[in-house]
């Protein structure tokens, strides 16, 4: 069946450093969504990408959707302690979202 893989599983950075998480699907996606889950919390929607090659920015966060619509990335510039949490990509296909296993970001002040 369809799989969505995310790397790395964990990332520890010093505050101010950049961070990137990558998402790869075994099949072409209709859309990709990114969510953030704080420890003990529930996933919260960040953004959706739909078009091939699409790039969207939210302040220090940059999201990309690959040309083949099979991969995506989230890049955070100059991380802050408030960025701590687990970032999930979720690929859409056949009417549902398939979540990756997430990248947990730790930021050392």
């Amino acid at each position: 069946g369809q799989q969505v893989m995310q790397i790395p599983q964990y990332q520890h950075v010093q505050e101010g450093e950049d961070f990137t998480t990558y998402c790869n699907s075994s099949t072409t996606l209709s859309n990709i969504q990114w969510y953030k889950q704080r420890p003990g919390g529930h996933p919260v929607f960040l953004i959706q990408l739909v078009k091939s090659g699409e790039v969207k920015k939210q302040k220090r966060l940059t999201f990309q959707f690959g040309e083949a619509k099979k991969n995506s990335s989230l890049h955070i510039t100059a991380t802050q302690t408030t960025d701590v949490g687990t970032y999930f990509c979720a690929g859409g296909n056949t009417g549902k979202l398939i979540f990756g296993q997430g990248t947990t970001l730790q930021v050392k002040p």
Binding site: H42, V44, V50, K96, L97, F99, Q101
Partner: protein, 114 residues
Amino acid sequence: GAGVSQSPRYKVAKRGQDVALRCDPISGHVSLFWYQQALGQGPEFLTYFQNEAQLDKSGLPSDRFFAERPEGSVSTLKIQRTQQEDSAVYLCASSLDGFLNEQFFGPGTRLTVL
């Protein structure tokens, strides 16, 4: 308005017991999704409703799992004869219409089967 609510927030069951988990979606949201999240993993799709119609139940792990949304609003996920491997957080999410819209998640129900 209020977000997605789920009850109970925590449930401890003995192996073999039946449990029922409730989800109240955001008012007016047509689509409702159930996910299972194991520790350290991403949410895993269980089932999806469009109004009262269950359009996809391909993620339900076994026939012990049953979900319903009889009036197109509140949904219940029922697990019969619980097993230890059913221990997880069960998340409910709703969206305006379908998977191409932002999903709003509830706080989840943490189920522990002893």
